[in-house]
Amino acid sequence: MKCQSAVVYERKIGEQLFSFGNLGFVVDRAMAMYDAETGSSWNQATGIAMTGTHAGTQLVVVPASTTSLGAWLASYPNSGVIAPSSELTWRQKVRIWDPAVADSLLLVVQIGPLSRAYPLSRFPESGLLHDTLGDEPIALLFGRRPKVLAAYSRRVGAEVIELDARPVTEDIELLERGGRRRWSAVSGRSRPLRSARPLRKLACLPIDRAGLELNYRGIDLFGGPLPPAPGDGERATATTPAAPVPPAAPLPPDPAPPPPSAPQGGESDDDRSR
């Protein structure tokens, strides 16, 4: 049983480019992967090398949107889509939106060396949660219809804003509380396009409780420690010594809004650089 973590990493550290493969077994509920260049083994859920010449090295997380294909294409109608495989895919069951297991899932948000885990069970009905991680005001979204799982900075330029969420066709609109600006939850871009600075997406990853306790020992838990899970009396809890967490891409300054005359649909700021 794997821990439901879907993560995109940069596969270059310094000048070293890696090609990752699957070692074929699970460690601490996470896939053990290796790089073909040095043979180091890596933990998929943390991005930390377990053995080899890169032991202890951490990969950088690339912000990505976990969402439905329909919602993604509504924001990016020209997106490439990776073809399905003809192989049996008995392992790929995505249970993030499965009500039966949602209570055991968490969203880990990372800003540089800081990280915090947010149990999905502690999200309000709207699916939008506000918090401050370090100095960064953030908003997390666990949208059910359409499916959107993402985290954003609430700092827009020099302002710190609060947001409300409203489902729209194939997207969730994030509205500035007390203001008029609104953004697409899938892309983080303003609606209408270029009417405001985009929201910066943050590196985050879903993970189940058992995977969190094995791979992110000591991580700060939003809302305090979790109650013991059924039959889980002896499992390690968040009070165990802290383990390192993979670094997320540092937040650069807000991109300046483009001039009003710029053509629509060609924003050059990407999710990775936010």
Binding site: Y9, V27, S40, S68, W72, V81, Q92, S268
Partner: protein
């Protein structure tokens, strides 16, 4: 060779799921077995070579829908520069890690 010896030597064919438990067992007694060694570890029975996204695998939205990917399919969406790509988790889960390069940025998509 006796039947018992035959079964013992082919345990991984009869019960492949036990391969998942062994690394944990090894972790619980590192002084005896040591950490798993990549590439040379004989327990890595399902080790797969690195999979790179082939340009022929990248479909247009229309082709993707024709190929049977539903609009409700969960994807990991990545945007780097002007390049935008959606990775259905059902596809990533086949190898559990895919290597790709978007806008000259090398990334690994993992599940």
């Amino acid at each position: 060779m006796s039947i018992a010896a035959c079964v013992a030597s082919c345990w991984f064919l009869l019960a492949p799921s036990t391969a998942f438990a062994l690394p944990r067992l090894m972790q619980s007694a590192p002084e005896q077995y040591g950490p798993p060694a990549p590439n040379t570890n004989r327990l890595a029975l399902r080790e797969r070579s690195p999979q790179h996204v082939d340009l022929r695998e990248i479909l247009s939205p229309e082709s993707a829908l024709e190929a049977g990917i539903g609009t409700d399919e969960t994807v990991l969406g990545v945007r780097i520069g002007d390049a935008v790509r959606a990775y259905p988790i059902a596809r990533i889960a086949v190898d559990e890690v895919m290597n790709d390069t978007i806008d000259n940025v090398a990334i690994a998509i993992t599940w």
